[in-house]
Symmetry: none
Subunit: 143 residues, 4 copies
Amino acid sequence: MRITIEPNNGVPIYEQLVRQIKYSIAEGTLVSGQVIPSVREMAKKITVNPNTVQRAYLQLQSEKILQALRGRGMAVTDEAVQICEADRHDLLKSRLQAVVSEILGSGIEESSLQAMFADALQHCQTSRTKAETLVHSESETNE
Amino acid sequence: MRITIEPNNGVPIYEQLVRQIKYSIAEGTLVSGQVIPSVREMAKKITVNPNTVQRAYLQLQSEKILQALRGRGMAVTDEAVQICEADRHDLLKSRLQAVVSEILGSGIEESSLQAMFADALQHCQTSRTKAETLVHSESETNE
Amino acid sequence: MRITIEPNNGVPIYEQLVRQIKYSIAEGTLVSGQVIPSVREMAKKITVNPNTVQRAYLQLQSEKILQALRGRGMAVTDEAVQICEADRHDLLKSRLQAVVSEILGSGIEESSLQAMFADALQHCQTSRTKAETLVHSESETNE
Amino acid sequence: MRITIEPNNGVPIYEQLVRQIKYSIAEGTLVSGQVIPSVREMAKKITVNPNTVQRAYLQLQSEKILQALRGRGMAVTDEAVQICEADRHDLLKSRLQAVVSEILGSGIEESSLQAMFADALQHCQTSRTKAETLVHSESETNE
DNA sequence: GTGGTCTAGACCACG
DNA sequence: GTGGTCTAGACCACC
């Protein structure tokens, strides 16, 4: 599981952590029953305050995505996958919807929006290609 | 000029006001030299505290979009239009970029993203058509 | 008498007017007993609110620089010249003092200050030369 | 860091605070990355309302001189030093320029101005010498 | 009437 | 604990 946190990007750190764990579950990197890193471990790994990690785990627990196993840590629940899949798609779709709505609402032409979208898409593809290259070189020293 | 504020939607009130004034300028509802409603007037109109309006105006002033005319009010500067136009496009583009990036980053296929985008677009068009109908009926009783 | 007002330069308009009238008296453009333009006339000439002119005249009156002549307007008092001369020198000196003090107080070297001062001096001389040229060409179409 | 606020000297309190923090950065008392006193702490120290401090910090943040570290405080940015240095010099120079310009514009001879300047300089030096003496005696009971 | 500054006190999200 | 937002009400200078 690979977690990347960007402080000061507006989204709270604990929220970024929640999302990324959900994504990991949705894409199968984390599977049902698997025990995730302890609060302290995770906190050290991504260098944030343990309280922040705790908060993220608590939220995931309340969403029935994680469950506490006394003395052993937190594990992914059985329902987690389906919750996350649904979540992910709906959440992201509504966010996209909101932005599109605001853009059109601000008086920008639909054609301009199409252009923006194409740009955004292309921009992501190039940066993702670069990222894959990084992943390959990293894979040899994977933890 | 039509301002609509939604408290508790996450975006600070003063920020909503800033954006809507920028949009009004960008789309030509507000023109250079025009004096906008006074702090107290605007505060009463959108029923928020005058200090909150003051803060929005202050920010617009520091961005050289508004200028204070002593004892007369705040007016739109000459450069305002170009600043707002550029602003608007860049701001919205970066927001779209962010969402697209997160969607692709979460493991969703590009084809799904395309579908989402089409859906969002269509959703907006239908609601906008409805809005236009409203505008037409309003135009007869315009203030 | 030539009055030039710059709105929005921080100094209140009425204060600018007060100063410039004092300067005019100090340099002899306005002499004892002379009747200055009426409030309305002056207001129209420099395109400001008559109240603002009134305020300036009131202040000058309270400083015994102007006196009201019933039905004829405001005139320069006999003591005006000496008051203005003293005023002007002291006021300007204390302002210069304040700036010098702040510059040195902010950690800037005395040598840098000397350089700044020389620059400022030179800058003024060139712009004043230009101004004189303007005055010459204006003098033919003088009001 | 030593902050001294004079209320009622014309310059707004928040502005005085902004300037003094800039000066502290320009002269090296505050360095990049350093966390400055919290809003509440500073407010107590200089006995003003926390909102007033907040406003100063906000302005410094918008000038990219401070950055907020969520839950930890406000820190000096990396670019702060160069911004402040440039700022300080330009700001003070333009103030000196303005005074010199007004003095010459008011009909005072350049030689008189030179004399004034020399006086101001000397006046500062004597008071600064006195201040240094104070600093020496303070250094033994430094906080 | 206008904008500008300041205080006092509250609530929230974040770490 | 931190910063951020908001309200309520006051006073000022300016036009």
